[in-house]
Amino acid sequence: MSEILLRIDGKEVKAREGMTILEAARSAGIFIPTLCYHEKLEPYGACRICIVEVEVRGWTRLVVSCVYPVEDNLVVRTRSEKVDRIRKTLLELMMAHAPDSSQLQELAQEYGADRDRFEKEASFCIHCGLCVRYCAEVKKLNAVGFVDRGTRKEISFIPQIASRECWNCKECFPLCPTSYLQAAFVLIESLAFPSPSSGPTSEK
């Protein structure tokens, strides 16, 4: 693996080929916020909070650092007016669903996000997919998945698998960035009221 030299926030950083900007930054002690990232899991690129500015061949682009591969002479800015503005709005959008999440609150403070900017729709879930992906990729059980799409998308435990596997595992619960309790609630609900079709849907 060849070594790659890039510049993050003015600091020269050495990275290996195949690393992402996020990995390179972390290895150099540079902090980039994340919500859907987990080192054991495939990058998902969904929360977009790790968005950064890169300069490639004279062009400035916004990319998500958890996915974008490092390349030689890449110039990365982990904070800029634009990046901060995007992160602030993303946090405000997520806090419409999970206003009391401590992870979100911490970031909100950093970026000046107003937790009450948007009308509350307390679903708690910000669709980071950590539970879903952890169950699929690490546990290889697929006991929890996404159902529906668009603005109606939500997580749901599959009763047939969950009733068998989840009680003794619950490893996904602490991964949830918004609410451990919510994860438990969704699990119980799925098992108590399994829907005949794809498993439970929870019209709340």
């Binding site: 969904a46 929360c47 916004l62 959008l93 668009g150 603005t151």
Partner: protein, 642 residues
């Protein structure tokens, strides 16, 4: 049919097909595309078959069910060759007369002809009808002449000669160079040069490569890929095979929506026929090139038209875009190099190979070559599929080809590019339509939807409609798209129901920016276009809704009221009887009054009030005038003898 083993055998076969076809033999063609099918073309077809036999013409007349002719407004369409007599809106009852008069006696039936609305002149020949006359139908033109279920029909018009030429006379590099030189840009959305994509895929490491047809057209109102795949599937297959040859791929997929049953059926038949003829499969025409094609039916998700989502769906997973910053041409299906092009892009390829890049580039503008097919729909006289050279003005498309705005209304805006596109206002009507000009105007070519709106369309409601569509069709994976659309839709809905607030426009702009900049895929990145372009061209409409609670188009129900002008009401009782909500109080010689509490704003009274009275008014942004006092409601009519 034994497989064709050489290029010479293909030409032999073509000759033998042509030798038994007399170009002067009367042939009645019936458009059997989806639109005409919906208008009852099957019943007309049965009637034609029946009548030809009944009148003893089976030996003398050919009957062909063709693909979409494009003039969908007037279907079902019949064209009788060789005279090219075109009959519109044909019903089964018309058929006996068509057979006895036109086929037998060569007499034209006037009432079934197209009437030019300006001159009242009857037009006999299909190509003379203004709708067709102002088009350049390079790709779409064959649709009306061939039976899409017959490979012989396609061979008779020169089909697969481009494939034979590519395989026999051109190297892979030459094919690629020709397509690059033609500057064929992707007809599905972004307009990325197809040749460059092919090259990238060709040069990408990996033995196994895929070529894919994107027939996941899902924009509201768009159906050009559907009609092309339904009406001329072999042209798409031929283009795909040529592309596969240039790229070095031996496996192709056609990703077509399940909701397009006729397209699925026709392309499946076409693949089977091409395999039987040796135009697909192993050692095509003895060239040593192998290529097979499979049909993959998409399960109806708009987002699956996005390249990485389509490829994920092709792998059998949920159609969600991938977050990778690597082109699918390099790492696509199962992480292998995969070239994806739109139906129309592929259908252009045989033309370029047959006639050359120099011929192709004579059509179009500097940056956009060739023609483009649009689904011209909305408040337009001639709804249908139109193929025009790039660079034609919007005005020409709408007025010359489209015949202007329906019902004599005033043009307001045209939306191009589907939900990802934007709308363009009247001041921009002379814009030359190509990839770059549309983008500059804040819209995009997209997959060729063109929705025309008249003065009755509210632009805020229009933006709300598309955001509502996208809130359903977003995959929901990334925050800016899912949540940005959710919040924008809320704001837009609030504005249209009269709950708009100061600052809403700025909020929409901010949400648009984040959604555009931060979304994972093209769906999210382009989702704010309907919002931004309407704000750009129709900001005054937004302001009227927010500040004055007024809908300038009188379209948003919550912001309009119906009111009967007491000075004009003649107490004719028509609206009184027709009101489905019993909201009208009136009687004989008694001026009618709408009970605003009961009124559902369905507009029935407005429509039924005789135009000579014009008593029912739509009002918006102002209070409903007080009803006339009871004692003044009686109409005293002058007696007739005075």
């Amino acid at each position: 049919m034994p497989r064709l083993k050489s290029f010479a055998e293909l030409e032999e076969l073509r000759k033998s097909i042509l030798s038994i076809r007399d170009p002067n033999k009367p042939c009645i063609t019936l458009c059997s595309g989806s639109a005409c099918y919906a208008c009852g073309s099957e019943a007309v077809a049965a009637s034609i078959e029946n009548e030809i036999e009944k009148q003893g013409l089976s030996a003398e007349v050919d009957f062909r069910k063709t693909g979409c002719h494009g003039f969908c407004e007037r279907g079902p369409i019949i064209v009788i060759h060789p005279e090219e007599i075109c009959y519109l809106q044909v019903e089964p009852e018309d058929v006996p007369e068509i057979v006895s008069q036109t086929l037998k006696q060569k007499k034209v039936i006037e009432r079934l002809l197209y009437t030019d609305p300006r001159t009242n002149e009857k037009i006999v020949r299909e190509s003379e009808i203004p709708f067709y006359k102002n088009q350049t139908r390079l790709v779409f033109g064959s649709n009306g002449n061939i039976d899409p279920k017959s490979i012989d029909d396609y061979l008779a018009i020169g089909g697969y000669s481009a494939l034979a030429k590519a395989l026999s006379q051109m190297t892979r590099e030459q094919v690629l160079e020709e397509v690059k030189k033609a500057n064929l840009r992707g007809r599905g959305g972004g307009g990325f040069p197809a040749g460059k994509k092919w090259e990238e895929c060709r040069n990408a490491p990996g033995e196994i490569k895929y070529v894919i047809v994107n027939a996941d057209e899902g924009d509201p109102g768009a159906y050009k890929d559907r009609s092309l795949l339904e009406g001329n599937p072999h042209a798409v297959l031929e283009g795909l095979t040529i592309g596969a040859y240039a790229i070095g791929s031996h496996e192709g997929y056609i990703y077509v929506r399940q909701e397009y049953p006729l397209a699925v059926e026709n392309v499946t038949i076409a693949i089977k026929q091409a395999q039987e003829y040796g135009l697909l499969g192993k050692n095509i025409l003895g060239s040593g090139f192998d290529f097979t094609v499979k049909v993959h039916r998409g399960a109806g998700a708009f987002v699956s038209g996005e390249s990485s989502a389509l490829m994920t769906a092709l792998e059998g997973k949920v159609g969600e875009p991938r977050p990778k910053y690597i082109h699918t041409a390099v790492k696509g299906v199962w992480d292998r190099p995969s070239d994806l092009n739109n139906v129309e892009t592929w259908a252009n390829v045989p033309l370029i190979i047959n006639k050359g890049a120099d011929w192709f580039t004579q059509f179009g503008t500097e940056g956009s070559k060739g023609t483009k097919i649009f689904s011209l729909v909305g408040k337009i006289n001639n709804t249908g599929l139109v193929e025009v050279p790039m660079g034609i003005t919007l005005r020409d498309i709408i007025y010359k080809v489209g015949g202007g705005i329906a019902g004599g209304k005033k043009f307001k805006a045209v939306q191009t590019g589907g939900p990802s596109g934007g709308c363009i206002s009247e001041e921009q009507l002379d814009l030359k339509v190509d990839f770059d000009e549309l983008t500059r105007a804040g819209s995009m070519m997209g997959s060729g939807g063109m929705i025309v709106m008249d003065e009755d369309t509210c632009m805020v409601d229009f933006a709300r409609y598309f955001l509502n569509f996208l809130s359903d069709e977003s995959c929901g994976k990334c925050v800016p798209c899912r949540e940005g659309i959710r919040q924008m839709l809320k704001v837009l809905t609030n504005i249209t129901i009269g709950n708009g607030k100061e600052g809403d426009i700025e909020l929409l702009e901010e949400l648009s920016e984040v959604t555009k900049d931060a979304s994972l895929c093209a769906l999210g990145k382009s989702a704010p276009n309907p919002v931004l372009s309407t704000i750009r061209y129709f900001r005054d409409e937004y302001e009227a809704h927010i500040k004055e609670k007024r809908c300038p188009a009188y379209s948003c129900k919550a912001l309009i009221s119906y009111f009967i002008d007491p000075h004009r009401c003649q107490a004719c009782m028509i609206c009184f009887r027709k009101c489905p909500a019993d909201a009208i109080d009136g009687g004989k010689n008694k001026i009618h009054i709408i009970n605003q509490d009961k009124c559902t704003k369905c507009g029935t009274c407005f429509e039924v009030c005789p135009s000579r009275f014009g008593a029912v008014k739509k009002i918006s942004g102002e209070p409903v005038p007080c009803p006339v006092p009871e004692k003044e409601r009686t109409i005293v009519r002058k007696s007739k003898d005075k």
